[in-house]
Amino acid sequence: MRKISYEQAASEALLEEFRRDEKTIHLSTDVPPDLRKEFGEARIRQTPISESSFVGAAIGLAGSGFRPVVNIRMATFGFVAMDQFVNQAAKITYMFGGQARFPIVYRMTVGASKSFAAQHSISPYSMYMNVPGLKIILPATPYDIKGLMKTAIRDNNPVICFEHMALEAMEGEVPEDEYTIPFGQAVIRREGTDVTVVALAKMVHEALAIAEEMKLEGISLEVIDPCTLIPLDRETIKASVAKTGRLVVVDEACITCGAAAEFTALVVEEEQIFRRLKSSPKRVCGLDIPIPYSPPMEQYALPSREKIKAAVREAMT
């Protein structure tokens, strides 16, 4: 199968969906040249640096029958528009009793590791998970971003697509034929028997690399990528932990109140699964600090392979 990059796969999804539905419209400060060329200035709009306005304008467009895709670039810029995300986009469907639909895709990059420092490095998906009314997707491969993005554009709700910046250049197999990927279906990236490792975004690839290394130690990891956080495929995670009896969650976001806590709660709250646990669940997450600039400190702030392996070994004892 042909291989294309994560970024190219996302662009393909947009191109296909913009051809498919003429109500789609794109807002961003930096215009994507391929879309502009094919669909023109009116639909592929360049915005001033005014995040509150274009995040909010997407809501007005959506409520008026359009399907906006908004590229905010870095998630840290999205905070400028927090009212529009939290008080408006998330609540408007419910609060107005479902009178209108709000199909919107907001794209934001997340992650650290490039020495961009605190104001350009963050993984804030759990902040948005705490706000009912937003769907949240977190594609980890080129195949996934294409299929999930197409589903997001067709969905009738505000969807935030968080894209890890270290994955943009990553290549992977993407079929030429059209496909979509439904929300709420976790993928078991690798089957195993000893420890369930739930990993997010870039950490999916770290977990897979570790699974290969730990095979040599005789430890078999089952690696699960939830793919979408809202809706979340709880069943796949629970079934896996029921089988292995052990859980390690790996996420680059800060540990406190992160998505990892949610996965942990999932297996300890349910009596059936709790009883089957052979060791307490572990979280390997980013430290609770703003991301520092200097490389040694930045690396220290993020989950390392050593820390993940240590957590797995601890789970095994």
Binding site: P48, F79, S115, A118, Q119, H120, L287, Y293, S294, M297
Partner: protein, 326 residues
């Protein structure tokens, strides 16, 4: 650039030294970024040196400035230590922010440099607060706020214009209109030729449009403004017309889509070459003196790089320190 013989020799030579320091510093940062010695991203100030220099030369140590992502020039002009700046950009423990901030986040509170900022327009409300503090303290300190044309499209910009206006804050808006935010032309993004119209028309704040590549013009306009603001006249908006010579930042990923002829034309208006001409044509200094200044500046940059390179990286665990004050 007009010859202004009323300016004292020392003043003109000082302006020259500061601009040249910024230029050489930035050239070195670009080289060291390209070689991989500097991590992250850096936004070069090359081409805009006259603005920071002409503005900050009018400020006292106790006056304050707030900067943006393109902040090295503002820091240098306010009197920051080149060694600690370079060490910060190199990610070293001896840097201004102990390696936590990097190029986009240099600050030196001891000289009234309240910090660069990675979020467009985010420094504006902070500057308004600093100006309110100056007003409440009752002295005659002023605050200068550096920001780009692109920042004028954020809501915070408009909110701060209003606050500054109704509270008559001792705040100088120093807008560096370099005609673009990344690749978006200011005329497209604002519908205006001059963004200072927003201050004058909408908020009753006096605006002055200044040739931002003429350091003497910048110096004179700021001098007058600082005197007015110190006297309690309320906020003033200075719009400096200028141009950046390099791409938006030193990193692959964003192509520079500005017309090549436009860039060349602006390079012809180099602020440093312009002042050099005044100095030489009026016999204020000899070519030899300029060369000596250049040698001194290069030596300071060399020293700063050596200081940075010889400084240790922070220990990984240093990352844990300083989330909260004691």
């Amino acid at each position: 650039m007009k010859s202004r013989m009323e300016n004292k020799r020392e003043d003109l030579v000082h302006l020259y030294q500061v601009m040249l320091t910024i230029r050489r510093f930035e050239e070195r940062v670009v080289i060291d970024y390209r070689s991989g010695a500097i991590p992250g991203i850096v936004h070069s100030y090359i081409g805009q040196e006259a603005v920071a220099t002409g503005v900050c030369t009018n400020l006292r140590l106790d006056d304050r400035i707030v900067s943006n992502h393109r902040g090295h020039g503002h820091c240098i002009a306010k009197g920051a230590d080149l060694n600690r700046m370079m060490a910060e950009i190199y990610g070293r423990k001896t840097g201004y922010c102990k390696g936590k901030g990097g190029s986009m986040h240099i600050a030196d509170f001891s000289i009234g440099m309240l910090g660069a900022n990675g979020i467009v327009a985010a420094g504006l409300p902070i500057a308004a607060g600093a100006a309110l503090a100056a007003q409440l303290e009752g002295g005659d300190r002023v605050v200068v706020l550096f920001f780009g044309d692109g920042a004028t499209n954020e809501g915070e910009f408009h909110e701060v214009l209003n606050l500054a206006s109704i509270w008559k804050l001792p705040l100088i808006f120093a807008c560096e209109n370099n005609l673009y935010s990344v690749n978006t032309p200011v005329q497209y993004a604002t519908g205006l030729e001059h963004v200072s119209e927003r201050a004058t028309g909408g908020y009753g704040i006096p605006g002055v449009i200044v040739d931002g590549n003429d350091v003497v013009a910048v110096y004179e306009a700021t001098k007058k403004t600082v005197a007015e603001v110190r006297a309690g006249g309320g906020p003033v908006f200075l719009e400096f017309m200028t141009y950046r010579w390099r791409g938006h930042f030193e990193a692959p990923g964003i192509p520079d889509l500005r017309p090549a002829e436009e860039l060349e034309a602006w390079k012809g208006k180099c602020p440093i070459a312009g002042l050099e001409r005044i100095l030489l044509e009026n016999g204020i200094v000899s070519r030899q003196t300029l060369e000596e200044i250049n040698v001194q500046v290069m030596q300071r940059i060399e020293n700063a790089v050596s200081y940075a390179v010889e400084s240790p990286f922070p220990a990984p665990e240093d990352a844990l320190e300083g989330v909260f004050s004691s």
